[in-house]
């Protein structure tokens, strides 16, 4: 069983490596979108391949996205500061996908709101993957039990 620190560590390594790669790939429009989708698949796999308990999944969400939720809040408390820049750089892996949608809500672009709530979205995504993984593993164990009974 992996520890929370190990899972969060892997998620940070994936996010930083993906951020660099996807930023460079924006030089080749189109490839950046493919890599952005690939990044999303990789974090989904990383999350679903661990066997953490319910509470530990919550800790993964908190340690992975909690600091960025604070940065997001700072960007609102100190407009014009570096906080929103930092938030945008951190979410570089999602930039190609966000750049595909361009419309304004009350004079502010859609991507701005998305970047602000991204820590919440990704935190909730951890919960969604947990729920899906739990259902899947419950299904597996039912099958395993049936096979064991048949023996």
């Amino acid at each position: 069983m992996r520890s929370v620190a190990k899972v969060v560590g892997y998620l940070y390594i994936i996010q930083i490596s993906a951020g660099m790669t996807i930023w460079l790939s924006t030089y080749f429009p189109g490839i950046d979108i493919l890599l952005s989708i690939l990044y999303f698949l990789v974090i989904t796999l990383e999350l679903s391949n661990n066997r953490l308990e319910y509470k530990k999944w919550g800790l993964v969400a908190v340690f992975w996205q909690g600091p960025w939720l604070i940065v997001s809040l700072i960007s609102q408390l100190r407009p014009g500061s570096y906080a929103f820049f930092l938030l945008q750089f951190w979410n570089t892996p999602f930039i190609p996908l966000l750049s595909c949608i361009s419309f304004n809500i009350k004079g502010t672009p859609f991507y701005y709101y998305m970047l602000l709530i991204m820590p919440v979205i990704l935190g909730l995504y951890v919960g969604i993957v947990y729920k899906y993984t739990k259902i899947k593993s419950a299904g597996c164990s039912r099958t395993e039990n049936r096979i064991a009974r048949q023996r």
């Binding site: 080749f28 014009g80 500061s81 750049s99 419309f103 502010t108 672009p109 991507y111 701005y112």
Partner: protein, 159 residues
């Protein structure tokens, strides 16, 4: 990569009044804060007439703003783009269709989804057959507009 201040990160307001007289739609306005990491000027906008500027910011994307906020910068420079009036107006029209597009500070030249304040101006003129970047770099910075042979300084101010 960056060793000084980047973009908007300054909360200081320098009052540098400069007259905007003589600007035509399509001309360029540069603003600079001291210690900027990527050159003398940290921001660029394109004049669209009626005291309005098309520019790009991290939190607003490509946007239309009042020209007077340039007085907040420590250094201001007004540049005349040496091109036919039709091309300059076409450059402004090109950008009017881009409002709300995504800003990313280190946007590369290729592509039309990811922008920064300098790339929008460079691309608007590139579409008209004018390359404002003499250096042929991977990306565009405000200083390139100051250094290109396609522009002439109308007026400069430093507080």
């Amino acid at each position: 990569m960056f060793t000084g201040d980047v973009g908007y990160g300054k909360l200081e307001v320098f009052f540098t009044p400069i007259s905007f007289e003589g600007l035509e739609p399509g001309d360029i306005i540069l603003g600079g804060y001291p210690g900027c990491s990527y050159g003398r000027f940290s921001h660029a906008g394109i004049y669209m007439g009626d005291e309005k500027v098309i520019e790009a910011y991290v939190d607003l994307g490509i946007t239309i703003q009042s020209i007077f906020h340039y007085w907040d910068y420590k250094e201001i420079c007004l540049l005349k783009v040496n091109a036919e009036r039709e091309k300059k107006e076409a450059a402004v029209e090109y950008l009017e269709d881009m409002i709300g597009r995504l800003f990313y500070p280190t946007a590369f030249k290729p592509g039309d989804r990811i922008w920064n304040c300098s790339k929008i101006i460079w691309k608007a003129y590139y579409q008209q057959g004018i390359d404002l970047d003499d250096s042929g770099d991977f990306w565009v910075s405000p200083d390139m507009f100051y250094n290109t042979t396609f522009t002439t300084v109308i007026r400069e101010a430093n507080s």
